[in-house]
Symmetry: C2
Subunit: 133 residues, 2 copies
């Protein structure tokens, strides 16, 4: 049987294909912000530190599992900081690091573009759907 996983084969393939795809650091970050909740969490934290439960309420619909999972990934990448206050009950605050703020600003460029052009995208979509039935 195949001793290599699909992911491994893909990586190996990409490595032999094109530097454009492999060495490119943007791949890394692009994949980070591709996570469903990352951009939302970045935005939720952009106006100051928030507690775990505050985030859960602000980013409505996120399950505790995904909230923790995404927060941990962000923390691992040095984008957010986790501060525990050993009170009773425990209080935990999350805040953007300067690195995280930087990423947020970059993502904001996409957001700004979106706000400025979403109507055109929607119009194109309607047109396309009308033509294609």
């Amino acid at each position: 049987m195949a001793t290599t996983t699909a992911a491994e084969r893909r990586d190996a393939d990409r490595a032999s294909y094109d530097v454009f795809l492999v060495g490119c650091p943007s791949r890394l970050v692009l994949e980070r912000i591709s996570d469903r909740w990352v951009a939302l969490l970045l935005a939720a934290l952009s106006d100051g530190p928030k507690r775990y439960s505050e985030l859960g309420r602000k980013v409505a619909g996120v399950s505790p599992k995904m909230l923790t999972q995404t927060l941990r990934a962000l923390e691992r990448d040095g984008l957010v900081e986790r501060e525990v206050t050993p009170s009773v009950p425990v209080r935990v605050d999350y805040r953007l690091t300067s690195l995280g703020e930087g990423l947020h600003r970059a993502v904001l460029a996409v957001k700004d573009w979106a706000e400025a052009h979403v109507d055109e995208v929607l119009a194109a979509r309607d047109r396309y759907d009308a033509e294609s039935g």
Copy 2:
């Protein structure tokens, strides 16, 4: 390609949660660029029109299914244009619209940030992994 059911349900759900999540146009575009191949395709097309097979080669590892699917989504949103030359064999070129070029520029901001700070992210990651075992 009836991709509407689950997506529509999710949208409807979100609508009942929070304006921050629903009305925000960035959600729309954020979800677009969250697709695994979108940013890559935008980049691949940024230096001029390309044929279907050229894209398949440049964005190594993409299956015909995903290539078509992503290209269609991009076309639907008015981000790329599809031009068919009815020769034998058929020739199809894809190119960024001005709208698509704009989005690409915004995504480029993220890419630029990534290139400038990926080492810090990686360092943070190593540190985290070392601490957590």
